[in-house]
Subunit: 391 residues, 4 copies
């Protein structure tokens, strides 16, 4: 059997398995502190969740969200320790297999919490015995790339790597149609002083030696990669020159974070698929600016949830994911804001607090994942919102 | 003519004048920096507003809102300078006649701005020629008390002084019925180290030598004074013992700020009255917590403004006044918040950003006056909202 | 053999062991981030330090030093994990045996680092073969108490518990003379909302329900306990009424930290003893205020290290431990400071940066352990300095 | 008489006047808040200082020192108001004639204060009757340039303009020898969004559209201008390419601040001259890094003031001026600092607090003018110190 045949066969087996057997669930768990995994441990202890079924974790920790926010690392260390103990593997193996994406900063009414994305194989008996889903249900896919060379970060090779990983994660989720994808979380490496030096030693140069600038390029490349994979923009238009310049080019489903703690790309795709069972579905909308309350309401409406103005059956909401940005033009709808010139509070903390307050007000619940740094992730000065809910 | 007769006559003349001649207007003006009064100067220059008709100023400056926020003083200095030049009086005389209340902190999408409250006498001819208002219109009243002794601050004498000033401001506005009052802004002195020492030298003691605690008592006394004047609570229940303790006792129309910069109480009342003309009216609601989106929508509905979910005719809004508070129990609707334990960002800055983001989202406009320190000003963990709009 | 005889015998054996066999060392290690224990792991790997010889760890992490500083917990988690792996015991057993005291906040030139206090038994052969020390050498002792009842915290029972633990740690160090003690680090529990509730359920009340106030009382009780054990003040004078009031009562050798993460008292005493061998000794001085440069120079002089004005042989310095406080009277040597009224930067961060800059300037090295919250730990508005150096 | 002859004559008269009649004094005054000029008003009221003799003001206000620090503007507004009232001229005329340089940020032990530089003409009688100075005494000169075109900022034309202004200020001070100059304070405009747009409309481009970057270029050009005028570096080496790149090129006497509030360059030179009388002199040293305690001691020694280690006769000190910078390589003397990665506290606030603590410790006094942003103003990672004292 040739390699190609083998791949084909495997692919078909996977498709078959998927068609009868995958079920997604989302556990939204609170934290008393950044290493508090008591909620997850309790799910394991009670048998409600098998450690092997943890596909990915997305969380909001109570740090400052900046370079010196160590609450993300602390949570990750504690999570890897817990899973390592439960799965009998090393901490590093855990982190190479399960994407763990944290956003620091629970400004204002935001509440520290994490979403555990569960992916379960149903027994064939159960699958065959139950009727097919009347509608599409939440599907989860993940993918990792090889480590990135520092000189590739924030450039076309980076765009291609992300695009490829998104496609791999779509295959992992069993989703063919890009319109079924509603949220793509990417964690991507950034250029550090040490990595830039290593590149220089090889005669290569990095996209920028300014750490914050390079990080913005990394996020831009990530967003471009998602836009390419989801065919939200023409691949040729997603050029190096357009990065951080052509704000009209964006993905309305990409949420990118860039950090020193990874050296490869990690991708989580969330979509809806008729191949999956379960009670959950996901919807999304771009947010045109920080005041885009209608986008929040419309996303809920897509899931059949009325908000007039506040969600009545809040228990149906399982996860809210938001990306936002302080408008770099210094004004929102014509009125000057002061976020970008504030020496005391970082602009990202400002915007998370404001947009978090708005979205939490609609949901009646502060457990909102709100992340800043939204270059090419939604309209300029805006961002996006995705909601996972019971249907 | 006895003094009592004279008072009676004066009162009747004032009533008569009011019944034909008062008209309120609110000018919402933006600031490029805390001393930017170009908008007000332009109104004076164009004749759109007479300097003599400035009744009070309420504004939101871009400081940190704390003890060391000097943007409030800077604005006040610049305002007094401008009015002094236009009215030919000294800066100190201006400040003894025109209440100027600033709240520092334009977190998130909040935009620095100030409301100039104008009170104009219409000509008798114009008044007689125009039909009476079909409905009540915005009315403005102000009052000042004598300087407070430091030992009186935060105690029953303080409550009484504020209650009396609110009643005086109601008379100044020509409003008899407490139900017509929708917002009472109080600026009240606090205990400083120097004032406490002066009291001690006289053998008197202050309510607390902890500056922040004493300031909280001053706000509580202010809120109790408003509640007493507006008969929102039984006067006997508004005891010293109840201050900062019995959170069920509150005014849903009081907005109190306490500061070192004043030694007497300044009161602004805003209500609706059939004696006033103009295009504006005011409405208010208590906010039960930081997520009380329905209260915002309901206040707008009281003014006949639909928000579904966002206000369509935003130009009708002339002023939005909000009071809020980080829930001291550490959670909002059961979910832990991190505002009170944050060593990096003051809790009041957190809550202003969140509630400001919510209210601005409904209005589609960041020019919201949001102030913290809401002890006994609305429900525990909540606050209040008042909106002035064209009708 | 009776219990009393057994204790006597054990004590004599311990004394004998001490008299021939103890040697202290201090490893000052840098951190790249709060969980970076690569330096310690390398010492273990090379055999330079045996994991069993780690007596205590004192460190300075790059958090904000406040309630929401999780860098301390992150370091502790990582340290416990490393020691657990090397010693084959659980993380919790490690933390019940080895005091680990972290101070967050590396403001200004301060550099994140930790001191590993090593306590080694020399072989009897080596001990007998070497001449006795010509002078006293660094001695290390540790002790733990039973868990504290919440209602005991910040009161006389707390003072007694600390005093007893200091005496136990002195015995552990083999030091009899209180004059040989130069630094006592105490980590003590504080009152939390949950602990206060538990006390209330038993009909007991805590010293204060204000978390910060209760924490200050806990530090005061800790300082009083040290002062009592070291006979720096009359035990009767160290009353509840004197806590946080009589600033003339202080220990010039106590460094107290209070935190939610412990429920019992942990004590580390550092002194000099002729029973110990090694190259190190310790000296200390009170600092009368934040400008007390002479105290720094004098402490070095006690160790035979010239600073004219800067230390020439900086390599001799092995650890610098400082306690300081923003002067609560609002001025330093008659000139107003702004630390206490700053809404943007916590006052403890201010003072650590300033005193750290001064001491680091003398040492020519930013690896200074500087901790705030110095109630009764040195003169009012001042604090203390201790230096460990090669002699 | 031709213009050239007239200039020559004027110059000679000025020289003659100088040779007999100038006397400098420095008044160091405390502030209770950023608009507190009571100290200066009292000097005016008592006749101790004539308003006409105020040559320049340098101060340290209690803001955050960043873009949104309005304490500088508030002080300037209040100073211009006071001088306007005393001199009978407009506020704008005052500010075009008297340089007023503020640095925000009184971190740690730093105390808000301002130096009023007085320049007095002695009567010819007094001058002729007194013996010539045995040594050189403090001399003060000021100069203003024309407004700068935005496209010139941070480029060679800027360097030339500053160099010319320094020479003009030297002439104003009657100092010929560049070695007699010890401190040059420059306040220079920066590129704003509006200014960049104005340049673009003319077809010109600015040095950088990144506000912070452009501000750094402006400071670099200022430092290069001073270095050129004082012949500290070869004029050709001070190229555009060297700016912010060649850190070996610096002035050890330049203190540059760049801000939006000015559109022309303002220069204050402080030096020593035999033509001036009075009791004061000035000395300076570069600081090689943030721990350069020896430079502080050496500067004092130049003025005959012993610091062993602390200054004994602190009353002799009249002004201390320091420039510093967080080392952009991330370490001080090999030990990592965390200033540049701190999302909570701006790096300039960190370094001012640390260096301020060190220098204040030597002086025994927190009234130190410490300013950050020291590109090309002293060695890389270091800065400079200047002291004015009685001799």
């Amino acid at each position: 059997m040739t390699w190609a045949m083998e791949r084909l066969l495997l692919s078909r087996v996977q498709r078959f398995t998927m068609s009868i057997a995958m079920q997604a669930n989302v556990h939204r768990l609170s934290m008393q502190h950044p290493a508090d995994l008591a909620g997850l441990a309790a799910l394991f202890d009670s048998g409600a969740l098998a450690p092997t079924d943890v596909a990915a974790v997305i969380g909001k920790t109570e740090g400052n969200g900046g370079v010196n926010d160590f609450t993300r690392g602390y949570f990750t260390f504690a999570l890897a320790t817990l899973l390592s103990e439960r799965l009998g593997t090393s901490r590093s193996e855990i982190l190479e297999r399960i994407p763990c994406v944290l956003s620091g900063g629970t400004e204002g009414v935001l509440s520290p919490h994490y979403l555990v994305l569960e992916r379960r194989h149903r027994s064939v008996r159960a699958a065959l015995g139950s009727p097919p889903s009347a509608s599409k249900r939440l599907a989860i896919g993940v993918a990792f790339t090889e480590p990135m060379a520092p000189e590739a970060i924030g450039r076309q090779a980076h765009v291609d790597a992300i695009a490829g990983a998104v496609q791999a994660a779509m295959r992992d989720a069993g989703i063919d149609d890009v319109n079924d994808i509603h949220f793509v979380q990417v964690k991507t490496p950034c250029v550090t002083v040490a990595r830039a030096a290593a590149a220089a030693a090889r005669g290569a140069s990095v996209v920028s030696t300014d750490a914050n600038r390079a990080m913005a390029y990394a996020r831009a490349a990530g967003a471009f990669g998602v836009a390419a994979a989801l065919r939200e923009a023409d691949r040729h238009a997603l050029s190096d020159a357009a990065m951080l310049t052509d704000v009209a080019l964006y993905s309305s489903r990409a949420s990118i974070s860039s950090g020193v703690e990874v050296d490869r790309n990690e991708v989580i795709v969330l979509g809806n698929s008729a191949r999956w069972t379960g009670d959950l579905a996901i919807a999304h909308r771009p947010m045109r600016d920080a005041l885009d309350l209608p986008a929040v309401i419309a996303t809920l409406a897509d899931l059949g949830i009325a908000a007039a103005p506040q969600v009545a059956d809040a228990h149906r909401i399982r996860g809210v994911l938001v990306k936002c940005e302080p408008d770099r033009r210094g004004a929102v709808r014509g009125h000057r804001h002061t976020m970008l010139d504030d020496t005391d509070i970082n602009a990202q903390r400002h915007i998370r607090g404001a947009v978090g307050g708005l979205v939490a007000g609609v949901m009646g619940d502060g457990r909102i994942f709100v992340s800043g740094g939204a270059e090419h992730q939604g309209p300029d000065g805006g961002g996006l919102i995705a909601v996972i809910a019971e249907i």
